[in-house]
Symmetry: C2
């Protein structure tokens, strides 16, 4: 069998006009703002008009800790959406948008893979509907207005050493990580240090993804802290008077983007915050709107369940009043084997013992997810190299944990390969088993929230933080920020802060290196390890081979 690449499969897709896809969700053509013939934004007026409707069921797709073997979380999200459609459910998928910049370093990502993909793939990896450009513009405007305020007399008495609002660009540009700006004399301002992050790391991105409407968006933008004075009091975006114009720049970007799977299932692809210094989920407005329009909404969270699902539950669901009805935990036999200690180049050989050992990682995620009161089903994303005995070992283990594991073949078969999973998901979602509750209360002290996650999710013995960090947390509590959730930034490769510790480590400590307040997004970022907010390009960037071929098709992007 000669296998087709993702892009070959995507190019063969029979896309329906986006108005037909919208019609599946009951969206009239006039309420869709088309971007070409296969993408559209859903109008704010239509979103407003469906608010009184009853919600459909919300299904979260998450995964075990990622390994180089690949798990296929997005692929399973897409496949499940198609599978639900095939068994007669009105389904909608909600995933994040891709960042432009990184595509020019490594090859760009498809949204899904094989026969479980969302299209149009090229557009989604390039400018799409311009949301990220709008975020970059809004972020850049605030940056320019801060320095302009200082230039014209600095009435707000900003300490130029304590401007915390960096600049952003949607490009991997390490040369901009640390700069000095406003050089060149009187007419260019007061020289100071600064730097750029990649756009997805912007607090504006996190806010766009958490805001419930344009008024909430503007309020949150206004709440952002952009600098401090010499007396350490904060200067807000609202003080700079940038919040109104930023909202105007973001008004279109706030509308969810509608596209489709290869099997024409509707998909909202909207928002894309970092999964470390932010919460890593698609927008609240997309998920909330989808719940009004579909019986089943399938969405995913960033990284593994220890980071992604935890933030989905404790940040997104808490803030947006959402409650998942079931969680699908994705694993591959290969990734379980890597968790069991097998090297990447030995994954092709049957190794049931390693599977059994690696299931410890899977088991801990199942137990963790149950703490949120949500039923779990494991999706085994099938690879051709998986053996019967290995699959049986995973199923047997999962059964022992009080859950079911379902073999899925969406990569090779599309929605036909996930009908069993879809039926299982419907069974548990309809059962009403879910009794969702976040892991901690709003009024718990910030440090206790960190400890709760470290002990209950990471299964660490302790959290290490020096006095200055604890003092900072106390100060924020005194300033009224104590009720915020915490947003953990640690490696996605391990339950611990050591990326090499696979499986289900115990006895470890979680050292907190730094804490940051995202006052507009509404969370305290807790940084445990090195976090890179501006990637660089590799020695041979993929951009060098990206080009249009003679047929006008894009080569080298995938």
């Amino acid at each position: 069998m000669s296998l087709k690449t993702d892009i070959e499969i995507a190019r063969e897709a029979t896309k329906k006009p986006i108005q037909e896809i919208g019609a599946k969700l009951g969206i009239p053509a006039a309420e869709l703002l088309p971007y070409g013939h296969d993408k559209a934004k859903v109008s704010q007026s239509f979103i407003d008009s469906v608010q009184d409707r009853k919600n459909g069921k919300l299904i979260l797709v998450t995964a075990i800790n990622p390994t180089p073997a690949g798990e296929g979380k997005t692929t399973t999200t897409v496949g499940l959406g198609d599978g639900l459609t095939r068994i007669g459910q009105k389904a909608c998928i909600c995933i994040r948008e891709a960042s432009l910049g990184p595509n020019f370093g490594m090859k760009g990502g498809a949204a899904g893979g094989g026969y479980a993909q969302i299209v149009p793939m090229e557009d989604m990896n390039l400018h799409f509907t311009g949301d990220f450009h709008a975020i970059t513009s809004a972020h850049s405007l605030l940056a320019a207005m801060i320095d302009n305020h200082i230039y014209w007399g600095n009435e707000l008495e900003i300490d130029t050493r304590r401007v915390v609002w960096r600049r952003v660009v949607d490009m991997n540009d390490r040369a901009l990580r640390q700069i000095t700006c406003s050089l060149g004399g009187v007419s260019n301002g007061f020289p100071r240090e600064g730097g750029f992050d990649i756009t997805v790391a912007s607090e504006v991105m996190a806010i766009l993804c958490l805001a419930t409407d344009l008024a909430d968006l503007q309020r949150r933008l206004g709440d952002m802290i952009v600098a401090y004075r010499r007396d350490r009091t904060p200067v807000y975006c609202r003080d700079i008077k940038a919040d109104g114009a930023m909202t105007v720049l973001l008004k279109d970007a706030m509308q969810p983007n509608l596209v489709q799977t290869l099997e024409n299932t509707p998909a909202f692809v909207h928002g894309g915050p970092f999964a470390n210094i932010a919460h890593g989920c698609n927008s609240v407005i997309a998920t909330s709107t989808a719940l009004k329009l579909a019986d089943y909404v399938v969405t995913e969270a960033g990284f593994g369940a220890d980071l992604g699902a935890e933030k989905f539950m404790n940040i997104k669901c808490r803030k947006a009043g959402l409650a998942p009805d079931a969680v699908v935990l994705v694993a591959t036999v290969r990734a379980v084997k890597m968790n069991g200690g097998v090297a990447k180049d030995a994954l092709g050989t049957e190794n049931v013992a390693a599977v059994q050992k690696g299931c410890a990682n899977l088991g801990r995620h199942i137990a963790n997810l149950k703490q949120f009161g949500v039923p779990v089903v494991v999706a085994i994303n099938h690879f051709v190299s998986d053996t019967e005995a290995e699959i049986a070992a995973v199923k047997s283990f999962v059964k022992g944990e009080g859950a079911d594991a379902v073999l899925c073949e969406h990569w090779a078969k599309g929605g036909a390969g996930t009908e069993d999973l879809a039926r299982k998901v419907v069974e548990i979602a309809e059962s009403g088993m879910a009794q969702f509750a976040p892991l901690y209360r709003d009024d718990m002290p910030l440090f206790d929230k960190i400890e709760r996650i470290a002990k209950r999710i990471y299964r660490a013995d302790e959290v290490l933080a020096n006095k200055s960090i604890r003092d900072q947390l106390h100060q924020w509590e005194q300033q009224g920020y104590g009720n915020l959730p915490v947003c953990m930034a640690k490696t996605q490769y391990s339950f611990s802060t050591d990326p090499n510790l696979r499986g289900a480590p115990t006895g470890h400590s979680v050292p907190v290196r730094e804490v940051r307040l995202s006052a507009g997004a509404g969370f305290v970022v807790v940084i445990c390890g090195e976090i890179m907010t501006m990637p660089g390009l590799p020695r041979v960037p993929s951009a060098e081979s990206i080009r249009l071929n003679a047929e006008g098709q894009i080569e080298g992007l995938f």
Copy 2:
């Protein structure tokens, strides 16, 4: 009479679905890529399909030297398009896109004014169809790839002091004019000086506006000089291998944007290069495509005729093989009076003598335009304060110069106010009087080209340039760039390089401060005076009052 503002008039417009506007030009709906319901891009495949058609007539709208009184060049362009439609011609307008950043400093510009406007005004002043964001991305990618090349070993031996490719952002951000980048240690690269321009100043913008198709675009991008080695040999974009990926980023931006006037005349709004360091015209692809689809294409050039029309003729027409059939030279009685020495606050008082004196400016532009072999008609853009005697004085003067002046009332009446102008334009365009030729041959030495423009257009006595500038021009000639046209960057307020010299100054010199090679765009920029490529924000930026009102409309942008 209570006068309505431009935005009030625009909001009352009855826009037709963009497919109907496309149909007026014979574009099938399937060949339009809609952006919402009132904007669309014209597909490359459709553009390819009309290449064998005969061209319509090309009408250039230009103006006398701008004054604070305002001339209304774009308003007249729009009004003439509507007027031509009203008298039964199949007309299409071609103008530039607006830059996003400056709207947050001063209030944003409408495209036209009064009852001669192009809509949707808000979108056109914000993200529109994302073209400028695509240009920013393509520019930024090349910048990142240059520093990345240096970081990974600098195989091309770039002299880091001679990287001439600056960065861009579509925002007025003076703090970025001059920076040091790559600070922070080994992992961030080799510290060097750099800086940002505003996006419209990017050579990528000029190239997008001059390229005839995607292959030409990529070739030109590859030709751009990004840095020099220690031995002063140039390093090209092609050496960095960024041209293919940049073309991919720009493929949608290359397609012209279709919108409409208040009277539903089709308008292509596409591209927006700087009018000083670049040629200041909308894209060649928009103009060329419009000529295949309409009987009359009305377009405009930046600034006054001494800069805008000269570059339109000597750069755009020469490069694209276009030939204007008539030129409309826009003047207002008020602006003529300012050229005659009247202060702005005295413009409301009748002053026929000042009109007669100020006509010298008008007269010189008429004579200049005739040198290109193109017939000229003067459009007097009517203001309510104009008196009969003043209008008569302008008409009488123009008659003496061998041309006609037509009073236009499009601001108050839309196309009904330009029917006379439209009829006059048709008369001279159909007469076949035009015998277009550029002002100089390709093979004339670069310095002689500068002198030709300075003496024939600015009517200067001499061009002053020191030896290093003359040597630089000779060097480029030896490198094979001698056949390029020159792109003059001087003040738009005067024929001379002194912005305060209104009227028709003589006896002046043109000092050349600097020359720059835009090898991809294909011209040598000749800088005579201070040129600002990154504007700043004013003390109270308009952004402070831009916001969404309770109805979701944008306030403060206009």
